[in-house]
Symmetry: C2
């Protein structure tokens, strides 16, 4: 006897992290940007003709693609946009990983990769990062159904350069390789220029971190016209209108405001350097971040305890109860003022627990 | 020898319709609402704190769900929201149609159903509408892996009542039944109250038609807590943040402005009645619409020719080059002024071709 429940998708619920609604908190747990979006993008919002929302958005988001193509020095046929980079990556997994062979990615990386593999029935294999949390490119020589690597990686914050990516590409002429560059603007190496050489390389990006537009949901991908056309076909078979009219308009203004973009990214990088130095002075080991967050640990203190302590002080950082990184905390780079409060509470924690 | 192209998703590209960028046009081809969104929703946009977009949206869109739950007289655990009803329906297909048996829907219906079945590998069977373009409920007695029916149906514009839906439900205790109510607010019967009786009934809706927010992408579903929890699990395994912060804020204001909603819906209904009558006076056969569009044909004129003629006059209606409906045109209800111009050009067409 069959029931309607038999036809349900069998899936383990993935529960997104709860966000605190308290006031006067230091929220440095979600890798959000501490600075507002470009004032020019904000002005687009203020001036937006709300009445025009009765029309469907441009399904192709043509102008946003044109602006991104110009910014990255590629053709408009090399650009894809979606509802945040999670949407772009989920579509890319469905588009390019249709193999019986497992796709390959590191054991410590973006938590959504295994979730998408489970959802889409994609087999996968994880290669452990080395003792320094580095990706070993030799692991990706083995036959696979595809490769996905974040560069810089998260939550390690560590980035790799051009030679590393070229090795991955040279080992994998017969797989699509996705390089997830969510954090690249904070000092990482971008593989976008390599997409002109390697037809099987897809680079993904997001407006949620360096462009301060997490609330608006814009992600993108850059690759050969061949890859982009498959991605478009799958997207248009799923939902033609993933990027709404306001996201398109504000996204365009954001990309066009290079000066503001550079200034806020540079502020985050400068604060990151200062906080890294201060934590090291306090005895922490801090990985060399190329992102808007840092991974830190201390040989004499429990990072889980520090995480819990800071929470009671309304300073919210991130702790992963996961093998290999359970001795670390992930700290998003906030404003200097926020980070001063963070450092002060860290000092209090060390003081109270010494 | 395998290549990376072997791992591509095999799919026929679905190309969304191009939208005209010309000015001074009458655009009555996409079932968009001729009236702007609620002024209260527009005010929310003007007053929106653009700086807050640096934060991720509330992944659960809790307040929007609460407002919809109150509006529809259900619990918040009975409401799901997504990035337009296409997103909601695509997730529902993935969530509830995991059967080897074919899902069932009519031969003439929303064009995305077969596209999603192809994308997700869901087998399907189509039951022909009868000669009057009505759905025969007896067809849905046969064993199936699920049922999806738009009510009112599109592009026929015809709706069915409570007894019809109850028959479908009584025939299908062991399948999930999705009733797609994209157009229901324009005079159709809503099955939302039946979701309390039938745990396997999912009703979907959209803000794109009756709420004039096609550009913002908000869709929703109402059903038993069991169905909604599966939908949430699949959604959160795909993309936690499908509905952006602006969509949440404007969506809330839209639902709360019942007076404006009623007044614009009633204007569309009044114009629909007038245009239906005028077309019938001109010799057209017009189906009895419960939607914001009408299906019309004329025994002595080619509707394809009329569609092409109107295009030259910058009046854009929709023609489907499809079996059974190739003698019809679909006309979205615009403002009275737009529809006057439409009727005037229709008269010109009839005059020039008599």
């Amino acid at each position: 006897m069959s029931t309607y429940q038999d036809n349900f998708r069998k899936i383990t619920p993935y529960v997104p992290g709860e966000q605190s609604k308290e006031k006067d908190i230091v929220k440095i747990n979600a890798n959000e940007n501490p600075y507002p979006p470009s004032p020019k993008a904000c002005k687009v919002l203020k001036d937006f003709n709300a009445e025009s929302l009765r029309f469907y958005p441009n399904a192709n988001a043509t102008v946003l693609k044109e602006v991104l193509a110009k910014y990255y020095g590629v053709g408009v046929q090399n650009v894809f946009v979606g509802n945040g980079s999670d949407d772009v990556l989920a579509l890319a997994f469905q588009s390019f990983f249709c193999s019986d062979k497992p796709i390959a990615y590191p054991d410590i990386t973006y938590s959504f990769y295994p979730v998408w593999c489970d959802l889409f029935g994609i087999p996968y294999v994880n290669y452990p990062l080395d003792a320094d949390f580095r990706i070993n490119p030799e692991d990706y020589k083995a036959a696979n159904g595809g490769v996905v690597l974040p560069n810089p990686n998260a939550p390690t914050s560590l980035g790799e350069g051009e030679q590393f990516v070229r090795r991955i590409m040279d080992y994998n002429p017969d797989s699509v390789v996705i390089i997830d560059e969510a954090y690249v603007d904070f000092g990482g190496y971008s593989s976008v220029p390599l997409t002109k050489e390697y037809g099987n390389l897809l680079v993904t990006g997001t407006f949620s971190k360096s462009r301060s537009l997490a609330g608006l949901r814009i992600g993108f991908a850059i690759g050969s016209a061949e890859l982009i056309s498959v991605l478009e076909a799958v997207k248009n078979s799923y939902n033609s209108y993933t990027v709404d009219s306001l996201a398109i308009a504000m996204g365009i203004a954001s990309v066009e405001d290079e000066e503001y973009f550079r200034s806020t990214v540079n502020k985050v990088i400068a604060t990151r350097k200062r906080i890294t130095d201060e934590l090291r002075t306090l005895g922490f080991e801090v990985l060399d971040s190329q992102t808007n967050f840092i991974m830190a640990t201390h040989s004499r203190y429990s990072m889980k305890d520090m995480f819990e302590y800071l929470k009671t002080k309304k300073v919210f950082i991130r702790y992963f109860s996961l093998p290999r990184i359970e001795k670390y905390v992930r700290i998003t780079i906030g404003t200097d003022k926020e980070m001063d409060r963070f450092i002060a509470e860290v000092r209090n924690f060390l003081e109270e627990n010494k």
